[in-house]
């Protein structure tokens, strides 16, 4: 059986989150961001502190920005498009899941599949 290197979750998955915050000139913004699994806990901590400037998100290597806009919540059409783009049924959005556990399960399954090839 061929030996496979363990998969790095950052290479195979993202936790897609909806972040909210304040515009510099007043008002609110929202942003769908794809967070690297290895940085998820830290990103959550930063959110709790309510001092993190989202403009540093990419520079701090938390992940990628999918789409952002002004307002309290994204328009329905945008959320629908994000779901379509990533192939996720709308009814599965914002479900009560433990993302890291879901990713660990997925990685394990992938590694098992590789072992069987």
């Amino acid at each position: 059986m061929a030996e496979h290197k363990p998969l790095d979750p950052d290479n195979v998955a993202r936790v897609v989150m909806l972040a909210f915050g304040n515009m510099e000139q007043g008002g609110m913004y929202w942003a769908y961001v794809a967070v690297r699994p290895s940085r998820y806990e830290e990103f959550k901590r930063r959110m709790t502190g309510k001092t993190y400037n989202i403009q540093n998100f990419v520079k701090d290597e938390f992940g990628e920005v999918v789409v952002s806009g002004e307002g309290g919540l994204p328009p329905r059409e945008v959320t629908k498009q994000v779901a379509l783009l990533f192939g996720v049924p709308v009814k599965q959005l914002f479900a009560d899941i433990d993302p890291l556990e879901a990713i660990a399960r997925g990685v394990k399954k992938l590694e098992e599949n590789e072992d069987n090839t």
Binding site: A19, M47, I54, E64, L85, V90
Partner: protein, 232 residues
Amino acid sequence: MNDVEHTPSGHSSKIKWGALIAGAGIAVAAVVGFVFFPDAAYGAVETIKQLLTNSYNAVGDAGTWVLEKIFGGTEPGTVGGALYSAGNSVFETVKSAGTWIGDKVIGGLTPEAAQHVKDLGKQAAELVASGDITEAEKKFAEASFSEIAKPATTQGLIGFIMNHKLISTAAAALGAYGLSKHLGSKNEFPLPRSEADESFAMKEDMRRMESLLAMRAAYAGYPQDAMQQGRA
């Protein structure tokens, strides 16, 4: 890059794909939307095929919007004609924006993959614009995406999705013009799914999603009154 996105439903707002809008500052809360996990990490062909099918549907939706707006004429000097010209310019802007996202923001596309995406977008736009829907559909469905998928990490895959989305939306703008010109009459046009025809199940899913979002956002400390700001 243009930061105004026209959505299939016709409204525009300050929305930016692939980047943060200017002036976005301190984050106050974040909630988990979903986990993105392609079925096969390297060479996620099936995942990409699915994403392309979704993109193709998005093309249909965008086409509906453009058709509604331009129907009634596309001759120079008319509103439809102006929209057609705008559509061409949007196509170029969007294509550049998509490439920019792929190359600069996401950084995950190889030059070959980026070129392939650009070529594909151009071919698909031309086919849809000429009214050859069957060939255009084949182009979307059968293009050798495995060639793109092979070097794709998740980061690359996201770059690819963003790029394809932008290009296919632009293709829809041109395509709707081409189809309306080619077929001549709204009655003969095979209208894609519109918001009005949105199924009851989808509306229910949206309602459920929104109540879950409101609940989780409130739990994460996002003030209720802020949530209501700018809601469509």
